[in-house]
Amino acid sequence: MCALSHYIERGSEGRVATTGVSLIREHAEGMKPPRSLWVPFPLGRPLGSPDQPDFQRDVLLSSLRLLESATETALVDYPNDAPTSGDDPWACAVALAPPEPADETEALRDQLVEEIRQLAPWHAESVKRRGRSTVGISGASLGQVEDLARLLADFATGAEPSDGEIDWNHPMPVRLKFASDDLRAFYHEAATAQPGANYPTDADLNDWLFNQTLLGTVLRQIVGRMRESEDRRVAGLVIGMIPAGFARAR
C-alpha cells in the first residue's frame, strides 16, 4: 500500500495526490508514503468496525484532510479505537453441537452437510438483511456450499477430492484454500445474521469457528494432511488455511 502511493503519484505526473490509512505503523514509517493516517484497528478493518457509518466517515475524512493540511510527508495517528459492543462476551445464536468427526468419507460428508443445514436458515436471514453474500470466490454459488463441504471432507479423509457441480475458479490444490474461505464466509455470515448490540470481534468468530464447529476440526485435519504432503504446492498452502493462534484446538 505504501509503495503504491509513491508509484501512483509518479505515474500521474503530479496530477493525483495520495492519502490513505495504514494498519502497520512500522510499514508506513519505513516506506514513507506522502500522507498516511495510522489507525489502531485490527487487520482487515481499516475503517474501524462494520455498520458504524459515522465512525467510518470520520476515519475517511481524517485521512482525506491530510490532503489539505500536510505540506511534507505526514504520518498521523488516528486517536480513537474502533467501536466495540462493550464488555459482554459474544455468543453465537446458533448452538451447534459438533460431533466427533467421522473417519469414513461419506459419513464425514454427511456430518458437515448437516452442520451447514443447521446454519442455512441463519445464512438466509443474513442474505435477507444484507442483500448479499460474499460467498463465491471458489466459483461456488450459494446453492453449492454443500459441495464445498464434500470437497473438504474428501481431502480430510484422504479420498480423491470430488469436483461436484461447481465451476471452480482455481485448480487443485489452490481450490482447497478458496473452498475453505467460502465456507468460512458462509459460517461467519450465518453467525452474524442476528442483529443486536453485541457483535463479535474477529477473535470471537475465529474462536467459535475453530473451537465450536465441525468445520473448524475438519480444517485442522486438512492442514495436518497438507503438512504431510510430498506435493510442495499442497504443503505451501498450509499458511493460508488457518489464522495464527487457531491451529490447535482450545
Partner: protein, 154 residues
Amino acid sequence: MVRTSDMHPDMAKNLLSLPLPEIEPQPWIAPRPLAEAKVAIVTTAGMHAEDDRPFNPGSVEYRLIPGEIDFADLRMSHLSVNFDRSGFQQDINTVFPLERLRELAEQGVIAGVSRYHYSFMGAQPDPTRLEKTGEEIGRLLAEDGVNAAFLTPV
C-alpha cells in the same frame, strides 16, 4: 488499540519481516482543496467484481471496480488468512468505504467520486513489483480527471 506488539507473535514476526524498500520520493504534490477534488479508492484487499478474475498467488495485477458497482457483486480473493474478513462480510465499507465517499460527495465535502476504483492483492513479498501497475493506475486516474486517491490496506 492494535499494534504489532498486540498481535499473535507469528503474525507480527511475519509482518515485520516484510521488506520495506526505499522508494525515491516524488516531488511534493500540492493537492486541490477537498471541495474541488474528485476522489478514487485504491485498495490492496484483493477485491474484485464477482464476474472478474480472482487474484492468483503473487499477482501484481489490478482489478477495476466500477464506481456504480452494487456491493452484492463484490468479492475478496486475498490469499492471506491472517486478517479479519468478518468486517468485510458484514459491511463492505469496513474495507472499501465507497458509500462513505459517496456521502461526502453528496454533502459537498469533496467534489465527486471517481467513475473507477482499483484493487490489488496485498501482502506483497516485494512491493517494488507493483511499480509498473501502480504507475499505470496513476496515469489512468489522472486521465480520468481524478485529483486524489484514498489508499486503503486490509
